[in-house]
């Protein structure tokens, strides 16, 4: 199966580990992620301003790229891109006036009327591949690895774009279970990591990250799994500071769900690019016999 794939900027730079492990895993599951031609930045943050149609140009242009390759669906892997594209798409679908303004403004482009469906990779795994067929393809079950799935906000909020139950999502739980991991449920799984407040309010982010990580540890997690490069940056990069401010905190590896997927499908660990993770997960994985030393 071929699916149009929108990578976004971060997956080409800081989150290469996310992209490489995702693309390789999907190929192993029989899904060929075909990168869109001429894609541009998703716009990063969905604009809340009522009168800022200009902000919608970036995401909508990407959707036009999808329409041009005659595809009716586009897969995103980064949660932030997912959120921005999906919401821009909803706006275009539900607001004929803004749709008209945008189409008129982009006179060099073909008209776009919401023909494309935006989905996240987790949805593809659930709805197109299926948990059962994933677990059948697992070569190396993640036995004994206690992982806390962390959703953050952008996969779930607002409700109209949620890929699962907003308050009690299970989609990543289900995936990790299919991979044989020991899934750790914890109350902060859907709390915000602080997001781009990291730029203007880094102390606030430290606070958020500590709440999330300490709760995951209290509930017995050895690692956290997520899908968002923004969350990964905050949860990973903040740990150096937290080790100094919170005695006894030794750190906890943060992994992309796709890295765990690739590993359990028996792919070459090279595709996981573990060297890019902020907290090196390799010692933990080795101790569990999931990685050769």
């Amino acid at each position: 199966m071929n699916l149009s794939y929108y990578p976004g900027c971060t997956l080409k730079t800081k989150a290469k580990n996310l992209e490489d492990s995702a693309v390789a895993s999907m190929a192993a599951l029989g899904v060929n992620l075909v990168e869109l031609p001429r894609w541009n930045c998703c716009g990063t943050v969905y604009s809340f301003a009522e009168d800022e149609e200009l902000h919608q140009l970036a995401p909508v242009r990407n959707l036009i790229r999808v329409k041009e390759v005659e595809s009716n669906k586009v897969v995103t892997i980064c949660s932030f891109c997912y959120n921005t594209l999906k919401r821009a798409n909803l706006l275009i679908t539900n607001d004929p006036e803004k749709r008209n303004t945008l189409n008129t403004f982009m006179e060099e482009e073909i008209d776009y009327n919401g023909e494309v469906e935006v989905v996240h990779l987790l949805e593809v795994l659930r709805d197109e591949v299926g948990w059962q067929s994933i677990s059948q393809k697992v070569q190396l079950p993640l036995k004994g690895l206690k992982v806390a799935p962390y959703y953050g906000c952008t996969l779930l909020r607002p409700q109209a774009v949620a890929i699962d139950n907003v308050e009690r999502p299970t989609i990543m739980h289900d995936l990790l279970q299919a991979l044989g991991a020991e899934v750790v449920d914890f109350p902060f799984a859907t709390e915000c990591c602080g997001s781009y407040q990291i730029l203007s309010n880094p102390d606030f982010v430290s606070h958020c990250v500590w709440d999330i990580l300490s709760s995951a540890l209290r509930w017995g997690a050895e690692a956290v799994a997520l899908s968002c490069p923004m969350c990964d940056f905050n949860l990973g990069q903040k740990q150096k500071e937290l080790r100094q401010t919170h005695s006894g905190f030794k750190g906890i590896p943060i992994l992309y769900f796709t890295q765990l997927l690739a590993l359990s499908l028996g792919l070459d660990p090279e595709v996981c690019r573990f060297e890019l993770n902020y907290v090196d997960p390799r010692p933990l994985l080795e101790s569990k016999g999931l990685l050769r030393q």
């Binding site: 139950n165 907003v166 308050e167 009690r168 109350p187 709760s215």
Partner: protein, 575 residues
């Protein structure tokens, strides 16, 4: 009909209508020979004009317009019949609920056109006189149904009271103490329950449900299913030895399925639901009884001194004839699991569960404990509007009693645990009943109950504590409280199965499933079917005083029907 007159009413309450356009549109309709408009036709001078026109123009059919056909039909019918026409020769068209002048005129034209069509199809009716069967059916044995039954029975008429659980009493008998006077239901409801059980005119059919209904006001035929209790209630004398001997425990409905340490809130597989039950008769719960699950046991059978246990009992049916029906099926609470941001945890409970923990006659004898470990909670958070006033959770309405029972809970908790702290999160405090505001003031001033104005976003376990996240909108700050127990004021919903019952009775329900009264202000006791009345929370959330008032009111409506000997039913004549 050959000579039809159309009377257009308009007043300041109806959006302006272009009468000229209306007349133009309907003037050439077949049969229409006369059209007139009048301001406030519903008043005496207007009605006189209609009467005169019918006579002068020799009309044989009329269409009247009105803001509320349901309310004016009766009045119009009197006028039309006094002018010599019969009821079937009149149709009332509704002119309400339109917006914008242009639209209003178009809608009025359409309403009149369809009324003309109905008039054209209308056939003479034959009226038949039906003798009234002076026996009443009351469905639901909560406080509303009990009150209605007693009032009817005291007036000298027979009542059949159908209750789906093994005992009457309803939610009220589960409560600890009742606001605002803090009297205990065991003291104030039990006498009414006993009176109901002993009244020569009342027959209680407990553990029974309405299976089907046919007929009309004056004479309904009702089929009732008596669920198998596996105990012959005629032989049983209610001694209770069976439940003493039974060796199987199960979570108890009456205790809201509370699972307390040492299983102190459990009941047996054969059980009398509570100590004051009426009737005082046990039932066997097939799902847990070892005789049914394992095929052998029979401890109760061996113990019963009168041989009342009957494992072979089947559901049975009785058919009764009644002249009128009162529906009083009460409410259920929205399940806690509907609010996903509140975790499922033994120490996150709803109001009815907390009532059982507070109740001096309850499983803990009124000692407040945490269900998880039996410890006394030192900090308790009460959360208002869980589901209610929250369209996201499907309940935009206010459940009306939660503000009061949560403060009652906080106050009773403080009386039980004087060194404890009670917090109440609220949106608004609604205390409109008599003595209610004073009750709140007392809790705040004397018992130091702490009110926090804001909503709660998340409730979850954190080690030994329950964490509550909310906002205090008065200080604009986020608050986090680590407490030992959280009590949720869950929304009130119509009781389970009331929708199905409404279908059997052909009465209307609103979008939430509450039974609809005939008119929201002027007919609050009547259902949409003549001869069927409503009482208590089946019609909408309310407290005990209101439920009792409505129970008494429904009974008096029914009694005024029973003061006549026959009803006149009109049916279209079969030609």
């Amino acid at each position: 009909m050959e000579r039809i007159g159309v009377f257009l009413c308009h007043c300041k309450l109806i959006p302006p209508i272009d009468t000229g356009r209306v007349f133009e549109a309907i003037g050439n309709k077949p049969g229409v020979v006369y059209a007139a408009d009048y301001e406030e036709m519903c008043m005496a001078p207007g009605l006189e004009r209609v009467k005169e026109a019918i006579k002068d123009e020799k009309l044989d059919g009329v269409v009247l317009t009105s803001c509320s056909p349901a309310l004016y039909e009766e009045t119009f019918r009197h006028i039309v019949t006094s002018a010599g026409l019969e009821g079937y020769q009149m149709v009332v068209a509704e002119l309400k609920g339109q917006d914008g002048a242009k639209e209003a005129t178009q809608r009025a034209i359409e309403a009149i056109e369809s009324a003309l069509e109905r008039l054209r199809m209308s056939r003479p009716t034959v009226s038949s006189r039906v003798p009234i069967t002076k026996r009443a059916l009351v469905i639901g044995g909560g406080i509303a149904g009990i009150q209605a039954s007693l009032d009817i029975a005291d007036a000298g008429y027979e009542v059949i009271l159908v209750e789906k659980t093994p005992s009457i009493g309803g939610r009220m008998i589960q409560l600890s103490e009742t606001f605002p006077t803090l009297d205990c239901p065991q003291c104030i409801e039990t006498p009414k329950m006993t009176d109901t059980g002993q009244h020569p005119n009342i027959k209680i059919l407990a553990y029974s449900e309405v299976e089907g209904v046919s007929g009309n006001i004056g004479k309904f035929k009702v089929k009732i299913r008596r669920k198998a209790a596996y105990v012959d209630w005629d032989k049983c004398n209610g001694c209770g030895i069976c439940q003493e001997r039974c060796a199987t425990k199960a979570l108890a409905e009456f205790q809201q399925y509370l699972d307390l340490p040492g299983k102190i809130a459990h009941r047996k597989a054969i059980y009398i639901p509570f100590a004051q039950a009426v009737p005082m008769r046990p039932v066997i719960d097939r799902e847990h009884c070892r005789y049914f699950t394992k095929g052998k046991c029979g401890l109760c059978e061996m113990a019963c001194p009168v041989g009342a246990i009957d494992f072979s009992q089947q559901d049975s049916f009785v058919e009764i004839e009644v002249g009128a029906i009162i529906v009083a099926t009460g409410f259920d609470l929205m399940p806690k699991s509907e609010i996903a941001e509140f975790e499922e945890d033994p120490d996150i409970i709803d109001g009815l569960e907390f009532e059982r923990l507070l109740c001096p006659a309850g499983p803990t004898a009124g000692k407040v404990i945490r269900p998880s470990d039996g410890r006394e909670p030192k900090e308790v958070v009460f959360i208002s509007c869980c589901g209610s006033r929250d369209p996201e959770h499907g309940v935009p309405y206010c459940s009306r009693v939660c503000c009061m029972y949560l403060v009652k809970h906080a106050l009773l908790y403080k009386h039980a645990v004087p060194d404890g702290q009670a917090y109440i999160f609220y949106m608004d405090i609604r205390t409109t009943g008599k003595g209610y505001e004073e009750f709140i003031q007392r809790a705040v001033e004397e018992d130091k109950v702490l009110y926090l104005r804001g909503r709660v976003s998340k409730v979850f376990r954190d080690g030994d504590k329950i964490k509550v996240w909310g906002s205090d909108t008065l200080t604009g700050k986020r608050v986090e409280i680590a407490c030992d127990l959280a009590v949720l004021g869950m929304a009130m919903l119509p009781s389970e199965g009331s929708k199905e019952l409404a279908v059997k009775l052909s009465i209307a329900t609103d979008e939430y499933g509450f039974m609809t009264e005939l008119h929201p202000k002027l007919c609050p006791l009547e259902s949409t079917v003549p001869g069927i009345y409503l009482a208590g929370c089946c019609q909408g959330p309310k407290d005990i005083p209101d439920a009792v008032a409505q129970g008494g009111g429904a009974a008096s409506k029914l009694l005024s029907l029973f003061s006549q000997d026959e009803v006149i039913l009109e049916e279209a004549a079969v030609s």
